[in-house]
């Protein structure tokens, strides 16, 4: 599902200027495309980072001359990078004499372009993203219908990072890592590490048929199951209440918060 989906998302997030795309290439899990503001790299949220890196490396090796010296914007709206991942990516790009432009800078550039164009002429402006729409990403991620749905068990060593909510139909095993900007719902046994509401969405929650995580994080809070306590064999939900992560049985058929 991933690749097509991703490039589609890029186009829509990039906002209604399909006529201006100069070059688009999709290889495996990465989407690298030319936009008016330079190259934009999108990474698929489900794939292990090492594979993404390999795919990118292959893509760059195909035409080293073409990419040489280019500046690349990183679209992190679907996948967030950890510090060491970002370092690895920058190392790879440095090999091709390329550099990373943060997406925020791109947004600023777009904004500036938009202002300029609206001032200069009215007839060439319709392809500019309205600012309010572009800013939607800053609002509660759960309000955007961009939930990542995964229908398999997430195993040790696999990491899923997504800016919005994640639903998993399957287990999350020890050693697996799920990080979501919104809620995390596991229709299965949750035994790995989950981080809902990353980085600071305190209204996010975690639900699971059996909640037995190694560690559970919501926004900036972290909790571990009490030592020696076995997991309840019934569905539970974890959310922040009064500045603490509270786990409650899913009894009434509705989330405990709100």
């Amino acid at each position: 599902m991933g690749t097509e989906d991703t490039s589609e998302k890029v186009t829509s997030a990039e906002g209604s200027n399909p006529g201006r795309e100069e070059k688009q290439s999709v290889q495996g899990y990465i989407a690298l495309k030319g936009t008016r503001n330079g190259l934009l790299l999108t990474l698929e949220p489900e794939t292990p980072f090492s594979e993404l890196l390999n795919a990118l490396s292959d893509r760059l090796a195909e035409a080293p001359g073409f990419f040489r010296g280019a500046s690349l914007a990183l679209d992190t709206s679907r996948r967030m990078l950890r510090v060491n991942e970002r370092t690895q990516l920058e190392d790879l790009l440095a090999h091709y004499h390329m550099s990373v432009t943060p997406l925020e800078q791109i947004a600023a550039m777009q904004q500036k372009n938009g202002e300029q164009q609206s001032v200069s002429s009215d007839d060439t402006a319709p392809d500019i993203v309205p600012l309010s729409e572009a800013n939607q990403a800053q609002r509660d991620p759960r309000e955007i219908d961009d939930t990542l749905f995964i229908r398999r068990t997430i195993r040790s060593g696999q990491a899923i990072h997504h800016t919005s909510s994640i639903v998993i139909l399957g287990d999350v095993n020890p050693g697996a890592e799920i990080v979501a900007g919104g809620d995390i719902i596991v229709w299965g046994v949750l035994r790995g590490m989950v981080h809902a509401g990353y980085p600071d969405n305190e209204s996010a929650c975690v639900c699971s048929l059996q909640l037995a995580p190694v560690q559970l994080r919501i926004a900036r809070l972290l909790s571990r199951p009490p030592e020696g306590a076995g997991a309840q064999p019934n569905p539970e939900t974890a959310a922040i209440k009064n500045g603490r992560i509270v786990v409650e049985t899913w009894a009434s058929g509705r989330p405990s918060r709100k």
Partner: protein, 275 residues
């Protein structure tokens, strides 16, 4: 008959990959199949010693892929079974001496000659592991009933799936039924609950394996060994025969029997066996 290339892997070291490869290979050959066992643990070879063929090595896997010798020159015929052959690993080289393409070609070559090609994978998830699975049709995961091994097995299952291979099957090795029953060790249901793959066999802990390994004589030859019988059963299941999974059926505890009677409790191991 279609030739089958099967890789035996685990992630964690010391769980019994080599012992499993040697015994299942021997068991398949005892059933009249033509079998090659391949040691892909380059630099840390062991399979030859477990089969008692160490002193017959002239050429090895690296020699074959580098074209120093023909495949047939490197294959060592077993002491007892005329249909069992070993392709040993190089001891003086390392995992990077072979790449995935060479390994895949080697598997194709072996396929033409044998009914079964069993590849003994090195521990870890690096190049050596990738080489071991690249040419495989099926993967067997060996795990012990303890947390570290199960977690590594889980990681390997994920990598095997990512490599586009079919879902692996599990051999649960070194199970101590008594400890598991007391709850001091993970039992079969605990392991299957996490891994969620089909069970190919359960091998009880058996001191005789250490003796057999040191003698270079696979335990499947020992008719009285329960571990030997378990490996034989696993080999028969690989060949598609229906063998009931009674390896742990010492005597189920009273509670266990009660739970089974009323249909509660951990999913029965038998249910997960693929015919």
């Amino acid at each position: 008959m279609e030739s089958r290339v099967i890789t035996i892997t685990s992630g964690k070291g010391g769980v019994g990959k080599t012992t499993t490869t040697a015994n299942i290979g021997t068991a398949l050959a005892m059933q009249g199949k033509k079998v090659a066992v391949v040691d892909s643990d380059i630099g840390l070879r062991n399979l030859d010693a477990v089969l008692g063929l160490e002193n017959r090595i002239v050429y090895d896997l690296v020699d074959v892929v580098e074209g120093q010798c023909r495949l047939r020159q490197a294959l060592i015929k077993d002491k007892r079974l005329p249909e069992l052959f070993l392709l040993p690993a190089a001891q003086t080289r390392d995992k990077n001496a072979v790449n995935s393409v060479q390994m895949e070609q080697l598997c194709q070559q072996l396929r033409a000659e044998f009914d079964f090609v069993l590849i003994d994978s090195p521990a870890g998830i690096e190049q050596g592991f990738r080489n071991a699975i690249v040419g495989a049709d099926e993967i067997i995961i060996v795990a012990n009933p303890e947390m570290a091994s199960v977690r590594d097995a889980d990681r390997i299952i994920g990598l095997v799936e990512a490599a586009g291979k079919p879902e692996p099957r599990l051999i649960l090795n070194r199970l101590r039924a008594e400890m598991a029953r007391r709850g001091d060790m993970m039992d079969v249901a605990d392991v299957l609950e996490v891994l969620g793959i089909d069970l190919l066999g359960i091998v009880p802990e058996d001191e005789m394996i250490i003796v057999a390994t040191n003698k270079g004589e696979p335990i499947v030859y020992d008719k009285h060994s329960r571990a030997g019988r378990s490996f034989l059963n696993a080999a028969q299941r690989i060949m598609g025969e229906e063998v009931p999974l009674n390896e742990i059926a010492d005597v189920p505890s009273l509670l266990e029997r009660l739970r089974r009677l009323v249909g509660f409790g951990p999913a029965l191991a038998e249910k997960r066996v693929r015919s």
